[in-house]
Amino acid sequence: MGNSETETQTTVRAPFTPWDRRELPGLFDVEETARRVGNYKWTEMKLFEALGGWIATVPELDVKMRFGTHCYHHSWHADIWHKRLPELREMKPERLTAPANEAMERFIEAMTEPEAAELTIEKLVGVYRVLIPRFIGAYTYHRNNASEITDAPTVRFINFILQDEYDDWRDGEMLLQSLITTPDHVRRAAEHQAKLEAIMVEAGGITGPGSIGTSVSTTEGGA
């Protein structure tokens, strides 16, 4: 079978191709990863519940339909994290399905407070100008600091989820831009954003302080 040239050709190759620059080290061990994943699941759940509940409360048909679509996106994220938890040695996913802290719980309460039909701007601001940008931050930090080899599944899931977050953020932001047409609208959006941001800062982000890492001092031997 085959000619002699084929028979003598070696199959020995380096285990990593020259273009594969993945590294073993990562910032998060299994326990810390599970904690963060539990926070993600809790927050994604609260977000899809809020979007689902708000559908009936908004009179604008385009917003109503977007809420329905995005409700599913975030439920899918919650499902992904729900299934990831047992793979991270947490056999009771409900145990880690929790807010990062009390301030995060308060944030969700404040975000979901607007219900009246004339408060569409406030509903959109809470989700698309405060919460989803925080999700993008926390997911990006996690993806960029996780071990690309030992925790490849989480990195892969985050990449899928981040694509949804970017797309949903763009949808929501454009809806807001089309709805904010008067100085009073600008004031309402800014005031509500400021109120929610203050609570989010207190919470420290989706996974609490360190959601996007800790600040690096520039006074110690910076370039």
């Binding site: 009936a56 409360t57 908004v58 339909m65 979901t112 039909a117």
Partner: protein
Amino acid sequence: MRQFFPVDDLARDERFVQTNMAERMKDARTTVDVDAATAKSRASSNRLTPDRHDASDGARSLMHGIMVGEIQALEGAGRTAHDFEAGDGSGDTIPFELKLDMARQAWDEARHVEISVKLSDWMGTELGQFAENTVLFEAACSNDPILRLAGVNRALEGLAIDVFTQMKEFGNLAGDPYLEFCEDWMLADEVTHVKMGSDWLRKVTENDPDRRKKALEFQQVVDKLFSFGGARGETDESPIGLARRFRELAGFSDDEVDTISMMDQEALDERKEAIRAFHAQADAQPTPA
């Protein structure tokens, strides 16, 4: 945001006009002929077919009804995803996976609204041109999530299977591949939603026969309500047929479909009787000079 949201507070823009089932049934205009002989003289069937003189208006009205029904189905699925905590299914809780299914259904219904808005436009209808009957969302307002599954996913989405089958056939007969294509896709989603309801109802009430019985009774009430006084049924007197094959795919047993068929016939007979009584009363009124 409140845990439960009343039908009267449903948010709509100013183009929409809402009504309810009682108001709708008071309307003396009807697509059901009480006198079979009269019906025969006009057409051999009440089914919505392109050769009917009122086919264009009938199809537009039905498509608008589908669109507002999809809006309410979207709202109902969203509310069920919101209103109940994740748990083991007892009391006020629903399984986490059921919440996920409701969120998925919300996305499907959002697409159905998009489709039916575009189809309405294609058929020359404007948003709000016909009144919106809010009975669908009412069925989604129960405090028991299992009653919502029975009323919405099984009864109402079951009706959607019948309506979409009818509209798909209408598109085929009318030579409208655009309509037929869209209805075919929506029909696939509805079968999924009904199956979802059938599966969850069985699973959650597995060890609670009383709760299951109540849910199935509620489903029958809603089924009868949604037969629109016999507008849906197996005989040609009803404009909308009963799609047996698709209902079986969605988890209905033969007995269940037979029961629905029987209730449709009863509803048709009751409505005919009511219309006869109405006409008799009108005839008895003295004619103005």
